[in-house]
Symmetry: C2
């Protein structure tokens, strides 16, 4: 339980502003096992077929509905627990008692649609058939979006672990290795260098034409001379993550590939330089994108310039050309422009940045120039 | 795309039987990125803030709504793709066009509540406001629950990788090591022995009183002489997983701890012996539980005896005393009785079993007797 964060949540629930002209304020927030639950309570649960839901209200201790076999996790905590046994036929009644204990039927229960599954939602809805379930993602995001010093320290460590792990992996990368083999070695090095064993995401290791697919998973394709090699990886430390990308040359590469690498490197620098308090997220995207557009590769930069980062790999704020959210000190996000030439190669260079009172701190400092591997 | 599995799905949609007295049959199945989607199509997507939904109907090629930057994943496949750009304001219209292309408004669109998030569901619901969204989990589960020879082979490999990895880890376990350190070393060994880098779940490593919490995450607690040490771990291979548990003695342990270990070992054997085609899942649970109850520890075995296993760690069929589902050849599940003494220690012994034409094959064969580590 984090009393300071719970107090802030209570205030946010009272002042919640819905998207359109509805009543302001929320009577409760319902969370399933997800980063926001960890943020508020420190409680970790597996996301499984047994639903776990915590209900937060402005004035009462949180209520939590959970399997009996998880009860030790909440022992001694200031929560009202509603445990259920192994027979799913009994679960709905437990949800009903929990919702009734807070008098929530007919009330406004905020939810996070990105995290809440239909599983938990349908139990909640059946327990409170007259309740409304507005999207409270922004309310929760506002609490989490400005990282405090402890959170930034954890992210800084996660960046350092990631960088050391990739440096330790690079010497072992050879022509003929598969993307999967490289990814496996990188994960081992991440663990050796101190990452939590639950990785933030599986590393992307994409050579040659696979690199032109920004979200390709590692394949059995063997690394070939002349490939570009995109490595998008991260570590987790104290519950916070890093998310970086560097692109390498496997021996000598065609002139166009070296050129697009250079353009992306300049775009990355321009995006980082645009990051400061008081400017909208859009400016970071526009600054990075302008470099790539001026070089004639605009159509090959097919995604936004970055996303927020913290407990999750993708969270607010998003660096999109249409996002007018204003950057504030403590906001942390990636800057990751790319150029993707279908059927040929791809380049992406990604850093993790935190807005400070006067500008931005780049947490990552691994060389961005094209380096030869293999 | 897996045409044979898609053909079976089409037949299942036509014959879908709802829980209560509603109309039979489904007009479509909607899946987000999840194991069932991989099972039917081989397609992997990150689960993120950008919604991805595939719609399967009995007669048409699948429709898939996805970000433009994921389009390479479906290039050349027999699917109708509805890509969207980076601005969320445009996504709803793309969902509407996709749903309209199949004429699904007002129809019955099955969903998997355990996987589908409110994010995807609300886009679907707004795109087809007159549609019904019945729970189709059982329909999909029926397709997946009987594993074919290729699937069993992958699970067998995942078991072997897990066993070799733990054997390689055991010599390094010493008094004074933290649970987290042991878990880190085990994950490294899992990767060295060939597990996919995306683990099925983070290993549970619980010493002493932590072992009395069946779902504890690894902590900073240092291993102490006299502890029992529960290790619940698994590997992933070719998209299929293993899930095993063994309990060790850290040096000499109190007589009661050795005794409960022996009881659990007998309960595990009884559960495995009860597994055969034609009997209900309940019999496996009852057989294992009877051993523990006879020994007077019934109240300390606080969970069901096992769960199905395959692409997921928890799936059908579940070994619960009230589950009358009949075991059939190809069904795969865990047998994992335990005894948990709050504040003291816990024991769990877990194996992976596949039902055959005549009985059951236990995929795991690592010694189950209490072994001393540290």
């Amino acid at each position: 339980m984090n009393p300071a964060r719970l107090a802030k949540l209570s205030a946010s629930l009272r002042t919640f502003q819905p998207a359109s002209g509805q009543v302001a304020g929320l009577d409760a927030l319902a969370l399933n096992p997800c980063p926001s639950l960890v943020y508020l309570t420190g409680l970790h649960f597996h996301l499984m077929e047994r639903p776990v839901v915590a209900l937060f209200t402005p004035d009462d201790d949180p209520v939590i509905i959970l399997p009996e076999l998880e009860m030790l996790k909440v022992a001694g905590l200031p929560v009202h627990a509603f445990p259920y046994g192994e027979n799913p036929a009994e679960w709905q009644a437990v949800f009903r008692r929990a919702v009734e204990s807070l008098g929530l039927d007919g009330k406004r229960i905020g939810v996070e649609p990105r995290a809440l599954r239909l599983l938990e939602f349908r139990y909640l809805q059946a327990a409170a058939p007259a309740a409304a379930f507005p999207d409270a993602s922004e309310t929760v995001s506002r609490l989490r979006v400005r990282k405090d010093a402890g959170e930034v320290a954890a992210m800084r460590k996660a960046v350092q672990i990631a960088q050391s792990a990739l440096e330790a992996t690079l010497p072992s990368i050879k022509v003929g290795m598969s993307e999967k083999e490289i990814a496996g070695e990188l994960v081992i090095q991440l663990l050796r260098h101190g990452s939590q064993s639950e990785m933030p995401f599986a590393p992307i290791v994409s050579g040659g034409p696979n690199g032109a697919n920004p979200h390709a998973g590692p394949s059995d394709r063997a690394l070939q001379p002349g490939d570009l090699l995109v490595i998008d990886w991260g570590a987790a430390c104290d519950g916070y993550i890093s998310d970086l990308t560097r692109t390498f040359a496997v021996g000598e590469v065609e002139a166009e590939y070296a050129k697009i690498h250079h353009i992306v490197q300049e775009a990355n620098a321009a995006g980082r330089a645009a990051a400061k308090p008081g400017v909208p997220c859009a400016e970071v995207d526009i600054a990075a994108r302008a470099v790539i557009e001026r070089a004639g590769y605009g159509p090959y930069f097919t995604h936004r310039t970055g996303h927020g980062i913290g407990m999750e790999g993708h969270e607010d704020p998003y660096m999109r050309g249409d996002n007018m959210q204003i950057l504030e000190p403590g906001m942390a996000f990636t800057v990751e422009p790319g150029i993707y030439l279908p059927g040929k190669n791809g380049v992406r260079i990604e850093d993790d940045v935190v807005i400070t009172e006067t500008g931005a701190e780049c947490l990552s400092d691994m060389p961005r120039e094209i380096r030869v591997v293999g």
